[in-house]
Amino acid sequence: MRSWLLLLCSAGVIAAQSQPYGFGQPATAADTTQKDLTVFPSGKGLPPGKGTAEQGAAIYKEKCAECHNEKGEGRPGQYPALVGGIGSLTSAKPQKTVGSFWPYATTVWDYIRRAMPFDHPRSLSADEVYAVTAFVLHLNGLVERPQELNEKTLPAVKMPNRDGFVADRRPDIKSKR
């Protein structure tokens, strides 16, 4: 009887440790798939698919140019430019764009898939995202027109500002009274 009780008690303790309150529902694979948008610099998170800048040009014209302009030059004061500024980061007027500032091609892919076209986000297929990303990178002179981007080749695209970031080194300003 005693050992029975002890057994029950310790089982209770183990259950309590594993899920202290027992709130929430076990997540299903579908719960994750439905929200799975994160793409890492290694390429982890990229779905299978492929596209070229050639194919992306048409998608861009139809779904992006209205805001970002024909060649990605943007519309000042309204929509950001997607090209230009390479080499400008140390100048008096640095221009931060996908080409000049973004460190990873995977970030471009991730952002276009989750957030663009701005008014219809997540409406593009994986192939379309590969193609239009290739086109935006092509506008920046970073991939060739016929070059295929897929889940293997996209993470290998070397962005000009890949090494442009350093860890937080603040407090970096020492003030005197």
């Binding site: 994750t32 610099p41 008096a92």
Partner: protein, 398 residues
């Protein structure tokens, strides 16, 4: 209150008198009623009070941009919920709380989804904290913004209530490899940020309430991440997923934006903490002093590193400084109200404040800031802001 204190007999007499008055009024000319307006189910401020946020849409597309808190017209430390600043990257989503779920998955023993009701069953906690946009004062180092709403209005402070994140993560069982957590919102752009697990386990919480009621839609209704002291953008609104991982995602908003470009062309990244900062809100740009004599100088100070230890005020363009009084309680990672009594002699004067936090960090001057970070770092500007009180009483940027 007064009614309760009135002795019953006097109340009765008063009632009798007003009844008699009514009878008299019936016979003679009608007297306009002096009783007040009806009660209302949800209160609003007086129609005489007009102060509002200043809204600036950044593009022609809906919902990208910001609205700024009118700090110069507010009192105390709590920002009224309807005046809390906003910064959205793709508008304010309309979310039905009944169907909203928070997914906690990735490197956890038990991937779980939580409804709002589930989250509200956990032990709760409340905390007053400031939230400041990493881009507050983005134009200030080079531009001398004319008033405190424009220069500092992406700062607000509220009492937030929710569940400590450590409790929720324990429920899912963190795996030892989990070092980062990707927080994602359910806004149209699915805004996401990578957060070190150390912060998640330290003082982070999942907030469902602000200033005693449910979050406002613009503040993330029905659920937002609250990271005390960290830049606004990491306090992800409309939170619907926490993905536990072993590396940051390098998402757009932690690479292209919210990084600090230094003069050497390198950008500091994951600059999460909002460093100590203070500003005089009265008298401040755009206001006018009625005339010489007593004026209280007051403002706000805050630090993402902890408590504010000291605020000093200068009324002679920084030549001499004197301690301001801090309004108790001084809370960690919350705004603190400071006050300094001043007798204005009617001559032009430059007033300024600077703060020191409990770590000993002293707020830099504008020049001190620019000397290290240059003019193009954009985010996290926290330099001293002087105001010029002109002889006619008007206040402008100094």
């Amino acid at each position: 209150m007064t009614e309760e204190l009135t002795p019953p007999r006097r109340r009765f007499l008063a009632l009798g008198a007003s009844l008699a008055g009514a009878v008299v009024a019936c016979r003679k000319a009608p007297v306009p009623s002096e009783s007040g307006a009806h009660m209302r189910a949800y209160g609003e401020r007086s129609p005489h009070e007009k102060t509002v946020r200043v809204v600036r849409e950044l593009t022609k597309s809906l919902g990208t941009g910001s609205s700024r808190t009118p700090l110069g017209e507010l009192h105390g430390i709590i920002t009224p919920s309807g005046l809390h600043f906003e910064r959205h990257h793709s508008g304010v989503p309309a979310i039905d709380p009944a169907s909203h779920r928070l997914l906690v998955d990735g490197l956890v023993e038990r991937p779980l989804t939580f409804s709002l009701d589930d989250l509200k069953r956990f032990p709760s906690a409340s905390r007053v904290c400031f939230i400041e946009c990493g881009g507050n004062s983005i134009g200030e180092p080079g531009a001398n913004l004319p008033d405190v709403q424009k220069s500092h209005g992406l700062l607000s402070c509220s009492e937030w209530t929710g569940v400590p994140l450590s409790i929720v993560l324990k429920e899912a069982g963190l795996k030892p490899e989990a070092t980062w957590m990707i927080a994602e919102g359910a806004d149209a752009a699915r805004m996401s940020r990578s957060i070190p697990v150390s912060k998640a386990l330290d003082d982070a919480f999942l907030a469902y309430a602000q200033n005693g009621e449910a979050l406002r839609p613009e503040q993330g209704y029905p659920l937002r991440l609250l990271l005390p002291g960290w830049e606004g953008n990491t306090n992800v609104k409309w939170l619907h997923r926490l993905q536990l991982v072993d590396q940051p995602a390098m998402s757009a908003k932690e690479t292209a934006n919210y990084t600090d470009l230094m003069p050497d062309g390198k950008a500091q990244q994951f600059t999460f903490v909002m460093e100590a900062r203070s500003v005089i809100t009265r008298p401040s740009g755009g206001q006018k002093l009625a005339g010489p004599g007593f004026h209280e100088i007051t403002g706000l100070a805050w630090s993402g590193y902890g408590k504010i230890a000291r605020v000093e005020v200068s009324t002679d363009a920084g030549q001499t400084w004197a301690d301001a009084e801090l309004q108790a309680p001084v809370l960690s990672k919350a705004a603190v109200r400071f006050r300094y009594p001043w007798r204005w002699d009617g001559k032009e004067a430059v007033i300024a404040c600077r703060c020191t936090d409990e770590t000993g960090y002293l707020q830099p001057t504008r020049d001190g800031f620019i000397a290290v970070r240059g003019l193009n770092s954009g985010y996290h500007y926290n330099g001293i802001k002087p105001w010029r009180v002109n002889a006619d009483g008007t206040v402008t940027h100094a």
